[in-house]
């Protein structure tokens, strides 16, 4: 009896797909959480945790999550930018973990922009 | 059979034969130093270099180990072959300037001046490896070996100690082309003069005789085993080398096996 079959190889590969994708930097969607001092003070960390939790729960392997500095609109923090490959980035403001989860499900996964939380469209493309 | 041309003469040789063997068939002499018919080719002295032309490409090869090929053209005294041979002889002259065989060869090839410094004028070993190889592959004793690397290479005994596997057969001395290997009189003497009844002779060391069983109280001159070697085989380690071919080596090894079983 062989210890390992081709199917097992595939399973190992599938399990590590998110890791591979991150290292190759080739995700389908990118979420940038703004982590300036203002952002952190306003609870950006909770937003980050919410996004990471969603990625894990929904098993969304192709989503890159990253941080950036202050976006210059400190009064509307916490903020995040969602960018789907080939589309204009969308900036969301005044976030809460619940809003983040909605954005994740609707925009990141389904491609539907959550208009009520969005600030602007098409600014500051980052990838 | 394979036909080839050596120095313009057509010759037929068996498949697997070397250029050296084919040339000898024609009576052409290719000089060698490290070669012996009773041993596998070693190709280390690089004196037997000849020029081979095949498919319009010319290359230098050693005659002692290169197999003949159909349609091959060999030149044993082309300028290229001679230049190679001369350079290696000159290098060997610088290594061992006193050695007769090297001096004679150098003279034959018209080498008058040695352009290289002589490190040790008393050096007499040219590292042809005949002693080491015959002791390993014919005698089966491996009592002589090489030590060190590169220009420090030298012949030695394992761990630089008097070897306890040496059976004092003397075949190394017989093959040595320069006289560098001398059987120490003591080694031979040891076998004859070991005291007591429980001692080993060369045959017990080789596993042919059981330990300490000697019919004539270690008087080696009257050795029965020696006599049996001669009667059965007309051979003995030293005579194998004299018989000069690989077949007698394997016959000898077969014989050894048989006597060991008895």
């Amino acid at each position: 009896m062989p210890k390992l079959t081709l199917d097992d190889l595939r399973k190992i590969q599938e399990k590590s797909r998110r890791m591979t994708m991150l290292r190759e930097g080739a995700g389908k969607a990118k979420i940038t959480v703004h982590m300036g001092t203002c952002g952190i003070a306003a609870g950006a960390r909770d937003i980050m945790v919410a996004f990471l939790d969603e990625i894990e729960k929904k098993d969304a392997k192709d989503v890159i999550i990253t941080t950036s500095g202050c976006a210059g609109l400190c009064s509307r923090e916490p903020m995040a930018t969602v960018e789907l490959a080939g589309q204009a980035p969308v900036k969301y403001v005044d976030l809460t973990p619940e809003k983040a989860r909605t954005i994740f499900t609707d925009h990141v996964l389904k491609g539907k922009i959550v208009m009520e939380y969005a600030l602007a469209l098409g600014s500051e493309r980052t990838f | 059979m394979i036909s080839l041309k050596i120095d313009g003469k057509l010759v037929k040789a068996e498949r697997g034969a070397t250029i050296l063997q084919a040339a000898q068939k024609l009576g052409l002499e290719i000089p060698t130093l490290c070669h012996h018919p009773a041993l596998e080719p070693y190709a280390a002295c690089r004196i037997c270099m000849v020029e081979v032309i095949k498919e319009r490409k010319s290359e230098l090869v050693t005659a002692c180990n290169t197999a003949v090929q159909q349609g091959m053209t060999v030149w044993t005294k082309s300028n290229r072959a001679l230049a190679a041979r001369k350079m290696n002889l000159e290098l060997l002259m610088a290594r061992a300037p006193k050695v007769k065989i090297i001096r004679a060869m150098a003279a034959e090839y018209g080498i008058k001046k040695i352009r290289f410094p002589v490190e040790n004028p008393e050096e007499d070993c040219i590292l042809c490896g005949l002693c080491v190889r015959v002791c390993e592959s014919v005698v089966g004793a491996s009592a002589i070996c090489f030590a060190n690397r590169g220009s420090d290479r030298t012949w030695s005994k394992p761990f630089d100690k008097a070897s306890d596997t040496c059976i004092a057969c003397g075949v190394c001395t017989y093959l040595c082309p320069t006289g560098a290997i001398q059987m120490e009189a003591e080694t031979a003497q040891q076998f004859r003069e070991r005291p007591g009844e429980h001692r080993e002779c060369r045959y017990s060391l080789m596993g042919i005789l059981p330990y300490a069983l000697c019919a004539n109280s270690f008087r080696c001159a009257q050795c029965e085993v020696d006599q049996r070697f001669r009667d059965h085989m007309d051979t003995h380690p030293i005579f194998v080398a004299r018989n000069c071919d690989l077949e007698s080596v394997s016959a000898y090894h077969e014989f050894l096996k048989r006597v060991r079983k008895e």
Binding site: M19, T20, L22, R23, M35 | A84, N148, R149, S151, R153
Partner: protein
């Protein structure tokens, strides 16, 4: 598997490790934990990234931010600024020599931009000590594919790919496999991986094994299956402790997964690999000597034929390829011969790994498509020569290769072009020499290496290289005559023609190529007793420039022969009668007042 948002790839190749990269790794882990980011950011140690000149280095994914020359004290700042606040730290990024603007992303840096990675495809992207990460990047899928093919088809695929041996001679790999497959054996065949890399300044194979040991193992299994071997050997030099350690781990993991052993992937094919450690003899890189060493005998070459494909380890047919060749095999099988053969030139397909060392800005390991010019490698990838010095020559192929001069910089790098120029591809060492290099001295240096490493079996290599070295020393000491030069040339030619193995056959190459391209330097040493590059100290005349001398007295104090006179506020003077030309005054003078005439 944990869901991280970012991976921090710490280079743990030998060069970065000796620059304390393991300390950097620990500091990273410590600081990440301090900031509470341990569930978001993972720290991974990888094999050699290649850009050894700027190590220790860390690449942060997914952004691909390249941090270089890190010190432990930089780490808290990096973690807080970049990982916590999302502001990559500019001052730790790489800026090309002479430029101010840093380049944040690894793939935008010139050193990486022109590279094409096949043998090194996983470098910096996986932890070499985790087989799952190799599998994640398509590892062992080539094997799975191969095991479904017929051995004949695999050999055909390798033949069609045009892959040639990366160890030096460039023999067609597929053809060698076919010869071994067809060879008759009365009890098994072997595959062998030569990891006894020994050229000074070459570290291709070490880096491949350190960064991606499974690629070599997978290649060996595929080769063994194609050839019909059930036992493999990897002969690796013991001076590569990190590579050895990772190889042992990798073999163990492959065995645990059943990728080595019985019935591999359910194919019915059995195969395992043993490691044999070399004891540091350069000549054991020669395949017949290597095989003697595997058998436990003295590492000495023997005449060929018989070739190893018929008569190898324990007299059984043996297929020997070097590390880089084996590492190319999985990708060729997985992606097909056609894909591979599109890369490179007509006769030299695929890519080649080179180690760039010597007088070059970007010291490191590069993999480039065959046919790229030397100029592109040295200037575009290598970043040119430091301190704006002029390029003089590049030594390719290590001590067995030759020096290629500036006028041949546009030479395409492939097997044929390099050997026409008198050098060779070799295993891929590239030593760059600048205007301050004396070519006679370089020839002497490389020859002293091969002379020392000669096994001493055959006359020309043992005696000939010794005499060549003697003549070169004479010339660099200013005692050479025109007759010596003639003798040297003749001797070099005969050693090349008549030596038994590759070591002796190639040892004269540095001498022959420098004679071919830099004969004037030899003549300057002999006729004018002058070393144009001021390297050969015995030919230098040291003089103190009275205008530049500050009378500090340092040279006077250091001179071992008391040849320097002078007092306070008095320019110093060298007594040429007493001077032994040791050059110490030149080395110690802080004001560049000691000149060489």
């Amino acid at each position: 598997m944990k869901t991280y948002r970012s991976y921090c790839m710490v280079c743990a190749g030998t060069a970065c490790v000796s620059n304390r990269s393991f300390h950097i790794k620990e500091a990273l882990e410590r600081e990440i934990e301090k900031q509470g980011l341990q569930d978001e950011i993972a720290v991974v140690t990888t094999g050699c990234n290649g850009f050894c000149a700027v190590g220790p280095l860390v690449v942060v994914h997914p952004e691909g931010i390249f941090y270089q020359q890190l010190r432990e004290e930089d780490i808290p700042y990096v973690v807080e600024e970049h990982f916590l606040k999302g502001r990559p730290v500019k001052r730790l990024m790489y800026s090309p020599p002479g430029e101010q603007t840093p380049i944040p992303k690894m793939n935008d840096i010139g050193f990486f931009k022109q590279q094409r990675l096949i043998a090194l495809r996983n470098r910096g992207l996986i932890d070499p000590e985790r087989i799952d990460e190799y599998i994640a990047r398509d590892g062992y899928f080539g094997l799975a594919k191969a095991l479904k093919m017929k051995p004949r088809e695999i050999i055909q695929e390798i033949k069609d790919s045009g892959l040639r041996g990366r160890g030096g001679a460039g023999f067609l790999t597929g053809l060698k496999w076919e010869l071994t497959r067809k060879a008759k054996s009365n009890g098994g065949k072997f595959v062998l991986c030569n990891a006894d890399e020994g050229d000074p300044g070459a570290f291709m194979d070490r880096s491949i094994v350190e960064a991606d040991p499974h690629s070599v193992i997978e290649g060996l299994i595929i080769g063994a299956y194609a050839i019909g071997a059930n036992q493999g050997y990897i002969y690796i030099r013991n001076e590569y402790p990190l590579a050895l350690k990772r190889l042992i781990i990798a073999l163990e993991q492959a065995r645990n997964y059943g990728l080595l052993g019985k019935d591999i992937l359910g194919s019915g094919f059995d195969f395992d690999i043993k490691i044999v450690r070399g004891a540091g003899a350069f000549v054991c890189g020669e395949e017949t000597a290597l095989m003697a060493s595997v058998e436990g005998r003295l590492g000495e070459p023997r005449p060929r034929p018989p070739f190893p494909t018929e008569h190898g380890i324990w007299s059984k047919p043996t297929n020997n390829n070097n590390v880089e060749t084996w590492a190319n095999v999985p990708s060729i099988i997985r992606r097909g011969a056609q894909w591979y053969s599109q890369i490179g030139t007509e006769t030299s397909k695929g890519t080649k790994v080179f180690s760039l060392v010597g007088k070059i800005n970007n010291t490191g390991l590069v993999e480039v498509p065959m046919g790229i010019t030397l100029r592109e490698i040295i200037y575009d990838i290598g970043g040119g020569i430091p301190h704006e010095k002029a390029f003089k020559a590049v030594q390719t192929g290590g001590p067995s290769g030759g020096c290629i001069p500036a006028e041949l910089l546009d030479l395409p790098v492939d097997y044929e072009s390099l050997s026409e120029a008198g050098s060779m591809m070799g295993s891929g060492g590239m030593v760059v020499l600048d205007e301050d290099t004396c070519m006679v001295d370089i020839a002497r240096y490389f020859l002293s290496f091969t002379q020392d490493e000669s096994c001493g079996k055959c006359t020309p290599c043992r005696e000939g290289t010794k005499m060549m070295l003697h003549l070169l020393k004479k010339i660099t000491e200013g005692k050479g005559t025109e007759e010596d030069l003639e003798t040297l040339e003749q001797l070099a030619h005969e050693v090349k023609e008549t030596s038994l193995c590759g070591l002796g056959k190639t040892a004269p190459n540095p001498v022959l190529t420098t004679l071919r391209y830099f004969r004037d330097e030899y003549e300057a040493h002999i006729k004018e007793k002058r070393c144009p590059a001021h390297v050969c100290r015995q030919l230098n005349t040291y003089r103190i420039d009275p205008d530049a001398c500050t009378a500090c007295g340092l040279c006077r104090k250091e001179c071992p022969e008391d040849a320097i006179s002078g007092g306070k506020k008095q320019p110093h003077l060298i007594d040429q009668q007493k001077c032994v030309k040791c050059g110490i005054c030149f080395d110690v003078c802080k004001f560049e007042a000691v000149c060489i005439d």
